[in-house]
Symmetry: C2
Subunit: 444 residues, 2 copies
């Protein structure tokens, strides 16, 4: 018997649950255009308000995965791992953590999307390296991982096309923020990506998709449950995204900062979180906590991670000298000016506002297909809790023109709050999900 879309919508409206078969039918029928946008929008809204249970989220993930072509990583020797961030400002950790994990013996086939909106995408950042290619076929990705343990490439149109269609609908119908919908969207792509171990960096705060810690925990728990239902080992760190993570926001600026961390030239939150994320991933593949942390710090300190990054850049056609002299090789902006507020303690740096400012300087695209300027962005010279002395700049603007730079100064006045009182630095990791108790079973 064919289910009726109206009956299934009505059941969700009244607070009921759908079976896996019903979820599967509804989404498939939508993707076959037998259920229309309006019906799917009504269903999603009912689900956002009434809630989806774990079985529904797993079924939704399953049917999304089936809309595309999954990548089979079973040919690879060594544990396959993936790392995903829900998106933050100045979040360039993938470019540090992926080489660290490859240096630690993991197989890292990392597929990314392009950035849209206020958060730049990993691919856009990588492409600021002269010559760097990210449009690899699944076969090329697999071959490169076999050779050097690492590839970072664009997710092709075959990877979960159903999610793209559903996301476009959610985007215009106020149904983006639901934990179960976010989790099934994220996890469908991770599961199709083939890795057995998946580390999630769930960002929490004003610059993130979820502003609230409890919501972030719910989202992370959903992802862990969905992953388990598909035989994957999933863990999540819940990390602060009230102020930008990197000391810079903008594509080349972030790559430069990442290279500095890999070179051992820069400490601070970007370094610290990268070590935490790599260690957490190593715990997912079976390392004890202490061993994971020391191995994570070790591959960074020894320069092995830097060499992996160099191999990555070379393998994908980029100029490997960016590893040695990043600021000479990466594109630089025409206008670089400092922003120097009245002296005081930095009370707040509004991550979303900084992200939007970088975007308005040209660092992000507002629509699919738009060109971006790799050179522009902002350096943040101080963090929350740090004091600026008289005449000391707090930010540095990298702009395409003087006019842009002047406008950016005004925006910084709004985005950064200075004050006289002392102020604690913000914590980096707010919690974790999926690491307590016994190990979940995972495919090798």
């Amino acid at each position: 018997v064919t289910p009726s879309a109206v009956a299934l919508i009505g059941r969700k409206r009244d607070g009921g649950a759908l079976s896996a078969a019903e979820i599967g039918w509804l989404i498939s029928a939508y993707l076959r255009n037998e259920v229309d946008d309006a019906q799917m929008a009504a269903f999603l809204m009912a689900g956002v308000i009434r809630g989806f249970n774990d079985d529904e989220a797993a079924a939704l993930t399953e049917v999304l995965v089936e809309t595309g072509r999954s990548i089979d990583l079973s040919i690879l020797k060594g544990p396959t791992v993936d790392k995903h961030s829900t998106g933050g400002v100045g979040d360039v950790t993938t470019l540090i953590v992926a080489p660290m994990l490859a240096a630690a013996g993991c197989q890292v086939a990392k597929l990314s999307g392009r950035g849209l909106g206020h958060t730049g995408g990993t691919l856009d950042k990588l492409e600021s390296i002269p010559g760097m290619r990210v449009d690899l076929s699944p076969e090329q990705v697999l071959r490169q991982v076999e050779q050097i343990g690492l590839a970072v490439a664009a997710a092709g149109p075959d990877l979960v096309p159903g999610d793209r269609r559903l996301y476009a609908l959610r985007d215009v119908t106020g149904t983006v923020g639901d934990p179960a919908l976010i989790a099934s969207s994220v996890m469908s792509k991770k599961i199709a990506g083939g890795a057995a171990h998946i580390l999630l960096d769930v960002k929490v705060g004003g610059g993130a998709l979820v502003a609230d810690l409890e919501q972030a925990r719910t989202l992370a728990e959903r992802c862990v449950t969905i992953g388990s239902a598909h035989g994957r080992r999933v863990g999540a760190l819940l990390t602060q995204m009230d102020e930008p993570l990197a000391p810079a926001v903008g594509n080349a600026l972030e790559v430069g900062a990442a290279v500095e961390v890999l070179r051992g030239d820069r400490r601070g939150p970007l370094h610290d979180l990268s070590v935490e994320l790599a260690a957490a991933t190593l715990r997912l593949i079976g390392h004890k906590e202490e061993e994971a942390v020391s191995k994570s710090a070790g591959v960074l300190a020894s320069g092995e991670a830097l060499e992996k990054f160099r191999e990555l850049v070379s393998a994908q056609g980029g100029d490997p000298s960016c590893v040695d002299r990043p600021w000479d090789v990466l594109p630089s902006a025409d206008v670089v000016v400092d922003w120097t507020p009245s002296p005081g303690v930095v009370q707040r740096i509004d991550a979303r506002a900084i992200g939007e400012l970088a975007g308005s300087l040209g660092a992000a695209r507002r629509r699919l297909g738009e060109a971006i300027d790799p050179a522009v962005g902002l350096e943040l010279l101080l963090r929350v809790g740090e004091r600026s002395e008289d005449g000391q700049p707090v930010a540095r603007i990298h702009a395409a023109s003087r006019t842009d730079a002047e406008e950016a100064k005004d925006a910084l006045e709004q985005a950064v709050t200075m004050g006289d009182e002392a102020c604690e630095p913000l914590p980096l990791v707010l919690g974790s999900v999926g690491f307590d108790g016994e190990d979940h079973s995972a495919r090798p």
Copy 2:
């Protein structure tokens, strides 16, 4: 500033309310195709779950009225009245009550829709009278009401086109049953129809849009409030629709039953409810309760209502002899067979199942534009609580073929429950709304 559809959807999703201006913008933008079906469906679903307040319902009604052409009845002498049923099975009261009210001095410009689904429409019923026309222009309606106090015609495409579009969307997205949405749909058409006094017959039960008395009361209260906000005097009777109202279900069969009531040849629930509805309408125009009831019964007993019905049929091109010899003039079915169950007391007659059975015999259309068979349907010879003696039929099937008739017998076995225990007849009127306390002000 142009509001954002996504922001308004999000506010309703989170339980907030929209201003009248925001509701107006959203619906207008939808009808201009600037807000798409998916966004409107998401908004409606959020509203169905979170609820719309009175101001939102009034604003929705207002913007719907403005999508079309309202009818100006101010030229008419005497109180203008309208009567609307939310739809039931065997509900042919309009053909009795409208002539009664015209006979009592009211001006009745009644615009109806075509039936769709399990309840037949008043227009379909009228058209079973040979020659009867219902497609009158607003000018023709007005002229006829001036002359004889009464017209029953099809609502043209200009009357609240926005409601048709919104209803089509609600129909496929599980958002039909909300009291505020039903109320604004009903009231937009009543307000555009121009009458100052509006009597609603809100059906309650298995054969109606709302199955629950409290929901029906909420719906009626919504309608009264919306009417008041537009300067109309509105009252509602909440009436039982668990068993079919008329002793017959089917177009010509119902018209025949209505003529028998008008002729004084038939008592029972159809007669009794018609008197109640006419009396309630007369109370709306200012009559005291006792006076209203005696006037209502009087125009029926005196034959004045029957003569008004004859004038109506003549004015709209129908054969007036149907008033004198209905069963000779109205179309009749080829196959007429009795259904005789084991003797016992009628415990239940499932109105919805009976409506669907009549529809499957050919009395209702399943899609817009489909032809219907005016002759087919069912006579219900006994009501709930009445006893059938051995060999006494409980229903009579009017079908186009022997096969249809045999299938109908099987369906009747399911729709009608017989039993040995005594059983109370079902009450007719379950409550009323809008008649207590002081009169609301209304345009003359």
